[in-house]
Symmetry: C2
Subunit: 212 residues, 2 copies
DNA sequence: CATCTTTTGACAGCTACTCTCATTTCATGG
DNA sequence: CCATGAAATGAGAGTAGCTGTCAAAAGATG
């Protein structure tokens, strides 16, 4: 689930990117940081795109050019491919549920790697917003279905089924829904529990999808 | 899943409701019918609330008084309590998955009861919109979490767990996500398959949640 | 430096949605 | 049947998210 990870682009070869690309990345994170700051100060609804634009020192049009909706500023990240790679690296015989457990563990570990405090605060803010603000939760569910299709591909490889099999699609979305609910559960209890433990228990409520 | 059923209020004692209540019901369905008609003619996005208000012969303010958002006009129904009742009538020993199978079957049967053609057209329109229009799908997912809480209550009774147990919450949302995906799958294939069959196969991908 | 492309900002416009307030419509007790 | 109170409605103004266009600015390229 993309919207749970918070790491920056994993050791991106920021070296030679061309001035243009570097600027783009900069404004992108400027917008995001401005948004996080403003939301922390005054809440989600009270924060307008104009304010975000002002603090990020860009025009409102630019904000919408980078993020199609306000919710996307909070939620969008680009880690689906990372998850997909990690998943593909796991042995094909391993059950999908086990692989998932591993990948999520690994993903969170990488996310917290270089700046634990920042990563943790940001993750709590995001998941908190997901739990409290309907619009954000809504958007998270949308992105859940994207990540779900990714799961479908992974499952198709494992089980020898087609990635458009009803069973595959349905199982993937069930998983995603469950994982998202686990996050909401976590946020509702003020992030007191161990998220990895919750995820383990969540995955345990599923049976393996039979091959073929 | 409330947003799948399309029956009218089950034999509501429309008899003595008071003129006021009857009028309210009337405008409510007027708005809904206007919306369905307009969307069938010109699509969801091209249909504005003003047009809906005009065709339903009410003011725009009134539309918003009846439905908080445009998506709600399409999706809102009041059948969660019906589902809950049906579910509670099932024997407590029956597995939740079996009960669900039965209740959905029964629910669909009741929905199609008095005017099969209308019910079928409306259901296909709604589920089709859910599959195609992001905003509607989004809203459907929101309402899914409401119905999910209902499932939690039912499961709590069966398994002797608390309705706020992580396992219960997560299992319920997994189920809802899977069922919703089944509907989308159905719509994507132009409603060619037998929806009940798809739902059976969907439920079969789950294991029973152990008691306690 | 000149030219071409990409990115940006300013602006106008649409629509979903909210709020307020005066008016109308229904309910009720005398 | 009428007067009083309560609820539903309509009108209008206002906010904010989001889209589109177009000209100016900034980076890339030879």
């Amino acid at each position: 689930m993309s919207s749970m990870t918070t790491a920056r682009i994993p050791a991106a070869p920021q070296a030679r990117l061309g001035l243009r690309e570097r600027k783009k990345l900069k404004t992108r994170t400027a917008i995001r940081n401005a948004t996080y700051a403003l939301i922390s100060e005054q809440g989600y609804d009270a924060t307008t795109v104009e304010q975000i634009a002002e603090r990020a020192e860009v025009s409102p049009s630019t904000v919408f050019r980078y993020f199609p909706t306000k919710e996307d500023i909070v939620l969008t990240d680009e880690y689906d491919p990372l998850v997909e790679d990690l998943l593909r690296e796991r042995p094909a015989e391993e059950s999908l549920l086990d692989s998932l457990r591993f990948v999520i563990r690994q993903g969170l570990r990488m996310a917290v790697a270089d700046d634990p405090d920042f990563a943790e605060r940001e993750m709590k803010l995001r998941i908190g917003l997901m739990a409290k603000v309907p619009a954000v939760r809504s958007r998270a569910m949308e992105s859940m279905s994207v990540t779900g299709r990714l799961m479908c591909r992974a499952m198709a490889e494992r089980t020898g089924r087609d990635e458009n099999d009803l069973e595959v699609r349905v199982y993937a979305m069930g998983l995603m829904g469950a994982l998202l609910e686990a996050c909401i559960y976590w946020a509702e209890r003020d992030c007191q529990d161990d998220l990895l433990d919750l995820i383990d228990r969540t995955l345990a409520t599923f049976k393996d999808l039979p091959k073929r």
